[in-house]
Symmetry: C2
């Protein structure tokens, strides 16, 4: 990108996350928001800036995806519609087939080969055929519990095993998120919810394990996941209610990547409302056993919603410049905050 | 690199750091140590593995640099001879002109445009002319106080300012290192040593500031550095002596990057012997002010000597695969621990 030539971006999906992404795009000098698509008839025809509450942006939201699938007008599409590769696949194929690069925040797209290997092969071939590139990024998977782990081994002579955890607070979230973590259920209801798939915990652990294992060549060949209820011992304050002692305050989701019988990568994500009520600090914690030993923490945790919108936008110049194909965050120079012209370019 | 084709590496310089690098190369399945050069006549003709104490490696150390400058036999040279670009320049030009990629651990090479802009332009042009790539890496500059900062902004919507510090313990080091930090001097001698250039503190701050500023586009236009003595309040135990109260236990080196009059990047490196004697924990600390706010720490600090040897070796596959020219760590996919075949390849 020359300094006078902005990257033209269209936003696909204007739910809460998509709106967050669009707002960051609008704030960046090096990017131009040139299109917006959403299926909601209520949004059709409205100026995207008005919907975002930042004043007119001169871009109308369309219900027709064809409105943003013109490679003469759009360089990159950012898509925020779902967590799942199979569900997003037709849209991704439409974007790529139109000859447009794509950044997805679908959790499974961070490393689609982990759980959707056939779709990964298909997307890679399609992207190469059309001379564009595609990537999935987000705060987790895609950053805190995988890319940051990978980068922390930049100076490692040896890595024998890795343990990382992310302790966050679900208090700001609404019913949809709380339900997927079983918040407010009894321990019995939690167990039943995990069994019937209504309580899913975190989406993206197989992808994070795969990203780390592939990046370092750790040879993990199997991932096992467990979901256990976090039972409130004291009243826990959610946004719109109190979780009483004895009820489920969240879900402790753990993934372990094995090489043979050996535990190589352990990722822990105890999502819960109001952990502070029981003296638990939020934060991200990474321990790399090897030479040298490395132990890192953040406090509080890197804010999830903000960082996911940020990383989607920060990845735009990287995927615009990438060679054709399906990429992962470990394949490209790291995305970074886009604060001035130099941030868009890499040598 | 195919999985059956190892990258052929030669080591230039077999001082303490060069020996550390060579030892890691020898330990990696995907790399082959094919040559070793050092100016010391005492090392000439000796097997490098014997010198390293790891048993015969089948590679003899030569006093003749021509012995390792054959692009038919060597893919990458790792060079460990000096901290300074101007001092290393003739060697770098010889390697690049021979058509061989090069990884340097000279501190100033992490971002040579910071203090050696003419040499940076010359090296970039020469590397492009000969179709190879060159890079400088190390624990600091090149990793902890710059690349890690840059990567932590992967999800940042905005960055307003950055402060980072690295508190380490000089106790394990010998006289050469202690002298450059003024350890054991009186406050008056420290002041005189800074003035006459015998006490230099940390080498690489302008390079770290430049790496961060360029990567994010922060527009820093000026770097100011200060060196202050850290006066022992209690006896401090060095490797071979005790620093008595009132004497200098180390050097608190600070660099501030300004954009106009605004302090944008502040880097702090209080190197000292035995900080624990005064209750100071060693560690690396990074705070990124912006959206979101991010605060990271490691404890203890990421071990410097081990990580510098590690990052030099881990960078070999990245510089081998890079497009021609002079690179910085932010230009390439991050180096990572090389634990298996996948670690050598990026999509």
């Amino acid at each position: 990108m020359s300094k006078n030539q902005r990257i033209r971006v269209a936003q696909w999906g204007l739910g809460a996350m998509g709106q967050g992404v669009a707002k960051v795009i609008l704030a960046k000098d090096g990017l131009e928001l040139v299109g917006a698509f959403d299926i909601s008839p209520e949004l059709a025809g409205k100026d995207v800036g008005e919907v975002l509450g930042v004043g007119p942006a001169g871009v109308k939201i369309s219900n027709d995806p064809a409105s943003i699938l013109d490679p003469e007008k759009v360089d990159v599409v950012t898509i925020a519609t779902t967590s799942w590769v199979k569900k997003q696949l037709p849209d991704l194929k439409a974007i790529i087939s139109a000859g447009i690069n794509v950044v997805s925040i679908a959790e499974e797209m961070a490393a689609p080969e982990a759980q959707n290997p056939e779709e990964a092969v298909e997307l890679d071939a399609l992207a190469k055929e059309h001379g564009v590139s595609a990537i999935g990024v987000g705060v987790n998977p895609g950053f805190v519990l995988d890319h940051l782990v990978v980068v922390l081994t930049a100076g490692s002579q040896e890595v024998t095993s890795i343990e990382a955890s992310r302790i966050n607070d679900l208090s700001p979230y609404g019913q949809t998120v709380l339900s997927t973590q079983g918040v407010g259920t009894t321990p019995e209801e939690f167990k039943a919810g995990v069994a019937d798939g209504s309580i899913v915990g975190h989406v993206g652990f197989p992808e994070s394990v795969r990203l780390i294992s592939d990046a370092l060549g750790l040879g993990v060949d199997r991932v096992e996941q467990t979901l256990e209820p976090i039972i409130a011992k004291v009243p826990r304050q959610a946004r719109d209610r109190v979780i009483e002692p004895g009820k489920v305050a969240g879900c402790n989701h753990i993934a372990v990547g094995y090489r043979g019988d050996e535990e190589i990568i352990k990722l822990i994500h105890p999502q819960q409302v109001d952990p502070g009520a029981e003296g638990v600090d939020t934060g991200d914690y990474i321990t790399i056993h090897g030479v040298p030993e490395i132990s890192m923490s953040t406090g509080p945790e890197i804010a999830g919603g903000k960082a996911t919108a940020g990383i989607a936008v920060n990845t735009i110049p990287r995927i615009f410049a990438a060679t054709p194909g399906l990429k992962r965050i470990v394949d490209l120079p790291s995305p970074t905050a886009l604060m001035g012209p130099e941030a868009y370019e890499r040598r």
